[in-house]
């Protein structure tokens, strides 16, 4: 079965991103397909490669990146939500005159249409938030 995942909260403050990760991993391990993981609201903060959690804690951002690499996951960060919160890739940095980028590997920035498309193409859509 094809799943779409929506993550609406950032890492660490809420458990949402952890739950979404565990769900996504379990679905993949069961042989399901993840059409897309879409990050919206503060969920876009899961995509900054500048996080440095203590060594004995999980690295939520790296964990998503690794899962994306392992399963060729499509992880999309909403552009409008990202702009509000300072999540930047090279294209966005050029467009908005920013002097740095912070998008972690495996993530890409795109429009909200990607969320709707995930809803259309997936058999099930699951939301993780606060």
């Amino acid at each position: 079965m094809k799943f779409g995942i929506l993550v609406s909260e950032g890492p660490y403050t809420h458990q949402a991103s952890d739950s979404a990760y565990q769900f996504t991993k379990a679905a993949l391990e069961k042989g399901h397909e993840i059409f897309r993981v879409f990050f919206y609201h503060d969920g876009v903060n899961n995509a900054t490669r500048l996080t440095t959690p203590p060594q004995d804690d999980r690295n939520i951002v790296n964990r998503w990146s690794k899962l994306a690499e392992q399963y060729n996951l499509d992880m999309v960060v909403c552009v409008a939500a990202a702009q509000r919160r300072g999540i930047v890739d090279e294209g966005e940095a050029k467009r908005n005159g920013k002097d740095a980028t912070n998008l972690a590997p495996g993530f890409r920035i795109s429009g909200l249409g990607q969320l709707i498309e995930a809803g259309i193409q997936s058999d099930r859509m699951v939301t993780f938030g606060d």
């Binding site: 909200l112 498309e117 809803g119 939301t127």
Partner: protein, 122 residues
């Protein structure tokens, strides 16, 4: 998009301004409408406060978005459902709201939810 049309319902249970969910959920509604999906909005619990008319946000220096609800019909989004019980519990009636809506019982709203393909909650 191969002409796929799904029933999307955006479920709004949070008040505006205290958090960003109401505003960013409206953005999803507009995009879903642009994708020509069958879009409806449900307002229950504190979500009904989103529709309370007369927002004046100058004092908090935040962009108001009451007008966007009024513009929804330009995007052919005309299915706005509001829970009667939630209105009553907050001392509101349909006349207090900024747009025409269909007021129904929680149970009726629950039945509509069951008929959806995608429920997005904000």
């Amino acid at each position: 998009m191969s002409g796929d049309i799904k029933k999307f319902m955006m479920v709004n249970r949070k008040a505006p301004y205290g958090t960003i969910y109401a505003l960013e959920s409206l953005e999803v509604v507009l995009i879903a409408a642009a994708f020509e999906q069958d879009v409806s909005l449900a307002f229950l619990d504190d979500g009904v406060y989103q529709l309370k008319k007369g927002h004046q946000t100058k004092g908090i220096e935040v962009k108001g978005f009451e007008k966007t609800y009024g513009a929804l019909e330009d995007y052919d989004v005309e299915k706005l459902y509001v829970d009667q019980e939630s209105l009553t519990a907050r001392g509101l009636t349909a006349e207090d709201l900024c747009v025409p809506v269909e007021v129904m019982s929680r149970a009726e709203l629950g039945k509509l939810m069951e008929e959806q393909d995608v429920l997005l909650s904000f």
